[in-house]
């Protein structure tokens, strides 16, 4: 009986820790969002400025002139962020760190690899309910937007969902997907992977 009680206590303690950790992660991401510049946090394209008649006076975004450029970052609390990802159907708006690490993942989703400018951005996040825990609920056609650190907004549409193994590194980067989001399954052995393509409206700036 004592062993049984011990196991139940362990289950309770682990549940408590997980719930506390999730609340902490939610608060961390919210704090980062608040400290980001408003034009990034808004994650909405600003009203387009009237196009000048003189072609010499048109402003072309840097990433179009130089798609190979590093994604600009904005620094918050000593961490570099490349922008904000928004998944309206899940009610999510989260900052995205430039480089992934386990400590970074405890705060916000991270860039696993790639660039929005090259159309191969892959984002990873913990399966906290307020991070990427709801990815499995997405269906093809759902909208995902990404706003970079200088306010360029990229609109994507969910194309398909797949489940990859934890060693499927090549498969994760395979295919011609403009944006990929992934997180662990409940058991932690596989990865829920959401593949997105650039929406028809595409990049707005």
């Amino acid at each position: 009986m004592a062993g049984g009680l011990l196991l139940m206590a362990a289950a309770l303690l682990l549940t408590g820790y997980n719930l506390w950790d999730e609340r902490r992660a939610t608060a961390s991401a919210d704090t980062v969002l608040l400290e980001m510049p408003a034009e990034i946090r808004a994650a909405e394209p600003a009203a387009p400025a009237p196009e000048p008649e003189d072609p010499d006076e048109i402003e072309i975004p840097d990433y179009i002139l130089n798609p190979n450029m590093d994604m600009p970052t904005v620094e918050v609390d000593g961490h570099a962020y490349i922008g904000v990802v928004k998944i309206p159907v899940l009610g999510l708006k989260l900052p995205v760190m430039s480089e992934w690490s386990y400590p970074n993942l405890k705060t916000a989703p991270c860039r696993y690899t790639g660039s929005a400018y090259l159309g191969n951005l892959i984002l990873a996040a913990h399966n906290y309910r307020t991070h990427f825990g709801g990815l499995k609920e997405l269906v093809p056609g759902d909208e995902v937007t990404f706003t970079d650190a200088v306010g360029n907004v990229f609109r994507y549409t969910v194309a398909e969902l797949e489940t990859l193994g934890k060693t499927d590194v090549e498969e994760m980067q395979a295919g011609d997907w403009s944006l990929t989001l992934f997180t662990c399954t409940y058991g932690g052995k596989s990865r829920v992977t959401v593949r997105c393509v650039l929406a028809e409206s595409g990049a707005a700036y």
Binding site: M1, A11, I58, D70, S101, S115, Y128, K166, V169, Q173
Partner: protein
């Protein structure tokens, strides 16, 4: 005797009354008392049609012409006991600032008609502040000064009159033509194989009609980009890199408002000799016989192992079986042990409980 005494007293009283009257200001006697129940009006005469004015009631007035701050103005730290015209003007300017600062609602507002007239009527007796907005007409900017007006006012005969006409003072300046401005941007692009060999920063100059107008530094910190806003469009603006790093060449191209400065790393390939060059005497080099170089045998170079956390999109993927397989980041919260622990715990508890019950039954 009684009659004589009465006359004497009357004479003394009349003398005292005359003395008191002499001490009083003569105007007060001339103006009389203000009829506080009589509605008043203010007519503004202005040189522009369509100019907007707002009127605010600042103070109550007593029958004897004493003003007391009222309404929204009641608590402002200003004095109405002023002696000079300039002091009243300064007070009007001060109150106008308070009005803007606190967003006070005017009692009324209106625009001048085609003859430049605007009348506020049915106004209660008191002291009023009138403010006007900047107005542009015929290439001139008219800026009226705020002013205070007492209603009722005094006419030419120094009598109170309910209908007052005011001609606000104003500034008239020629409208400045809007200067057309342009934006110019510098963007650095590196074309090289080794990003670590790049300088930490470069310097670019903005030229106005060919002369240096501004110098800025581009670095990773500003994402190798800089924007100049609101430059006078009457000039020609260009951007140039001032100190090109060693081993790099530079080209500048313009794309819209952006000057793209491309630094290309120079390779070590020697340039082919220029035939017939003045400094090189013609040398008759016998042509070498063709040598058959067998093609190199294909070498099977195994892929280098990749760190299991790729940071760039073009990181090669691992395929060596000797190294541990790279894995994707572990992004799961540790939920899976919870049901196992809970079920195991309940099972063990029930098992123990059943065993104890069975032992108790045996003992009984």
């Amino acid at each position: 005797m009684k009659t004589r005494n009465w006359r004497g007293r009357l004479r003394v009283c009349l003398t005292c009354l005359l003395l008191i009257c002499a001490l009083l200001p003569g105007t007060a006697l001339a103006r009389g008392l203000i009829d506080l129940d009589e509605p008043t009006s203010l007519t503004i005469k202005y040189p522009c049609a369509g100019a907007t004015f707002r009127i605010y009631r600042v103070a109550d007035v007593s029958e004897t012409g004493v003003y007391t701050l009222t309404g929204d103005f009641e608590d402002y730290p200003v004095s109405l006991r002023l002696s000079s015209q300039s002091a009243w003007r300064r007070l009007a300017e001060t109150l106008a600032i308070y009005v803007d600062l606190d967003g006070l609602r005017p009692l009324d507002s209106g625009k001048t008609n085609s003859r430049g007239r605007l009348t506020f009527s049915d106004l209660e007796a008191g002291l009023y502040l009138v403010t006007g907005r900047e107005f542009i007409e015929d290439g001139y900017v008219y800026t009226p000064e705020p002013f205070l007006v007492a209603l009722p006012g005094l006419d030419a005969d120094d009598d109170w009159t309910p209908d007052v006409t005011a001609k606000p003072k104003y500034d008239k300046e020629p409208e400045e033509p809007e200067v057309e401005t342009v934006k110019r941007k510098a963007l650095k692009i590196w074309e090289d194989d080794d990003p670590d060999a790049r300088p930490a920063k470069i310097t670019v100059q903005l030229l106005r009609d060919g002369k240096v107008w501004d110098t800025v530094t581009l670095s990773r910190k500003n994402n190798w980009s800089y924007t100049w806003e609101e430059l006078d469009a009457n000039f020609t603006w260009q951007v140039i890199e001032s100190d090109v790093p060693d081993d790099y060449t530079v080209t500048v191209s313009r794309e819209g408002v952006t000057f793209v400065i491309t630094n290309t790393q120079m390779t070590d390939i020697p340039e082919p000799p220029t035939p017939g060059g003045p400094s090189e005497p013609p040398i008759d080099i016998p042509s070498e016989p063709p040598i058959d170089i067998p093609p190199e045998p294909p070498v099977d170079i195994p892929d280098e192992p990749t760190p299991w956390s790729p940071a760039t999109p073009d990181t090669p993927q691992p395929s060596t079986p000797d190294v541990p397989s790279p894995t994707l980041p572990q992004t799961g919260v540790l939920w899976w042990p919870v049901p196992l622990l809970a079920c195991g715990g309940v099972g063990l508890f029930l098992l123990g409980w059943l065993r104890r019950r069975s032992e108790d039954n045996d003992d009984a």
